[in-house]
């Protein structure tokens, strides 16, 4: 369990990125922080592995204040997946995946054997192991990034807009893949995105952030849609724009679901 208690971050230039955030991230569930640029969601994520230290409040992992933990050891125990994969361009795929285990002193042979298994886990062919990141497609690079994040079998996986730079088809593939993985592995996933659809798809808990680093609402997707806390949330999730104000009409004997503008969104399954 990760707990934010009255967490604030003010940068030296006076910008307040996060203002008094209290939130509990439940274990073995996916929590998605969603908001537009400048809402402090990435800053919150980076506080968990001390890439950013809060200027006020506490971040606790299983009751331990992370400020008391050594940053390097902490980071090596937490998986981190970032946008543009963040792979080391001068290392082969297999060495990239094995980086953190080897930093922790694992033998090369063991780390490589495990890295190959992880390529299977994330749905990559083992023949890619000896390629360099620049030889892979964006989607493949992102999968390698996920494999690397899982390499030390961490309890916590931090994902900072991991699918932001791939095209929509690949993104949707990767999202399904993440859902499958999460079903199998049951990690505590903290996911940051600005895409509300992605948030609703992946999140057990969705945390909607607004400008100035405050939480507008934290709840399950269903609850947010049913009871948006305020106009900002309603607008952000699209409830006011008709995008999610769906209704059913009948066309040629089939029941279609159409949105507020009358555009078909799908077919109602019987």
């Amino acid at each position: 369990m990760i707990e934010f208690r009255g967490v604030t971050k003010q940068f030296p230039d006076g910008t307040v990125a996060v203002a008094g955030v209290d939130i509990v991230v439940p274990p073995r569930k996916t929590t998605v922080f969603v908001g537009s640029s400048g809402s402090g969601k990435t800053t919150l994520l980076r506080m968990i592995n001390r890439m950013v230290d809060p200027t006020g409040g506490q971040v606790l992992i299983d009751g331990t204040d992370v400020a008391t933990l050594e940053p390097v050891a902490l980071r090596r125990s937490i998986g981190y997946v970032m946008q543009n994969s963040g792979l080391l361009p001068h290392r082969k795929v297999i060495d990239n995946v094995a980086t953190v285990p080897m930093l922790r002193g694992e033998k090369k042979a063991a780390a490589h054997a495990r890295a190959l298994e992880l390529l299977d886990t994330v749905g990559l062919d083992r023949s890619l192991a000896d390629k360099y990141p620049s030889q892979l497609s964006g989607g493949q690079q992102q999968r390698v990034g996920v494999a690397r994040g899982l390499a030390v079998d961490p309890n916590i996986l931090l994902m900072d807009e991991p699918f932001g730079a791939v095209d929509p088809i690949v993104r949707s593939e990767l999202q399904q893949e993440l859902l499958r993985l999460q079903g199998e592995l049951g990690k505590t996933v903290v996911f940051v995105t600005h895409d509300i659809d992605e948030a609703f798809l992946l999140g057990d808990q969705v945390v909607i952030m607004q400008q100035g680093g405050q939480i507008s609402q934290a709840a399950s997707p269903a609850e947010i849609l049913a009871n948006p806390a305020d106009d900002f949330v309603a607008d952000f999730v699209g409830a006011n724009r008709g995008k999610r104000a769906l209704h059913v009409t009948e066309v040629d004997g089939r029941r279609l679901v159409v949105d507020g503008d009358g555009r078909p969104a799908g077919v109602l399954a019987s």
């Binding site: 890439m51 980071r75 125990s77 963040g86 361009p89 964006g138």
Partner: protein, 247 residues
């Protein structure tokens, strides 16, 4: 033209290839001075440049200092040092170190600075210590630019090490100064040609090394990206920031 032929004849005269002060001996002296200078200057400039490039701190200072050093006339500095230290190799070595510092410093900080900050951030987020970030990420990726700095410094040292003979009995410059004094222009020009050839040969060697230190993964970039590449492939790393989706 006649003089040039005489100079070439002087170079190939067997008498100049044996005994004290022969061409091979002078070349070895020249190389020894250049190597000494390069090692001393590297020990000073590379750590400072790497610190600046890694932390991003003190960059203005480094630029100012290296710019200032660049503006110092080496011959003037050598004369000044020679007058205070005296005859011998000390003064030319110090003067040449001053000459070599700016390119080394610039290469070191530009090399580390050129590495994509997102790559560095990812390395840190994975749990690399600062030392490991430098050693495993920034150095290998910045190496081509660092070697470029060393290459440019070496070229300047080898070319300018002729000045050592101004104040000491050392190096290929000896032929130039001796020829000037005795009005033996064939010897003078022959000595100059040897310096030029030596400098070009060493520069060629560094060109090869510079190519070899480009990390494999950076060289292995897919060819089909060539279309969208605004500049020639660079040694330094990081994915170009492109609009739209990359597949």
């Amino acid at each position: 033209m006649n003089l040039l032929l005489e100079a070439i004849a002087w170079i190939f005269d067997p008498a100049n290839w044996t005994g004290a002060g022969s061409i091979p001996e002078r070349i070895m002296q020249h190389l020894a001075i250049s190597a000494t200078v390069l090692v001393i200057a590297s020990l000073i400039a590379l750590p400072i440049g790497m610190f600046v490039g890694h932390t991003g701190r003190g960059k203005d200072g480094a630029v100012t200092v290296s710019g200032g050093l660049r503006a110092l006339p080496t011959l003037g500095l050598l004369t000044l040092l020679g007058l205070s230290i005296g005859i011998g190799l000390q003064a030319p070595i110090i003067a040449l170190v001053v000459l070599a510092l700016p390119p080394l410093l610039a290469g070191a900080y530009a090399g580390l600075e050129s590495v994509d900050r997102r790559t560095v951030d990812a390395a840190r987020a994975m749990g690399m210590r600062e030392r490991q970030v430098i050693g495993k990420v920034e150095l290998p990726l910045g190496m081509p630019i660092i070697v470029g700095g060393i290459r440019s410094a070496t070229l300047q040292i080898v070319a300018t090490a002729t000045l050592a003979a101004y104040i000491a009995d050392d190096g290929l410059g000896r032929f130039i100064f001796a020829g000037l004094k005795t009005r033996d222009y064939a010897e003078m020009l022959g000595g100059s040609i040897l310096v030029i050839l030596l400098a070009l040969a060493i520069d060629g060697l560094f060109a090869i090394i510079q190519r070899l230190v480009v990390p494999a993964g950076v060289r292995a970039t897919r060819t089909r990206e060539l279309r969208s590449r605004p500049t020639r492939p660079r040694a330094v790393v990081g994915q170009p920031i492109t609009e739209g989706n990359r597949e």
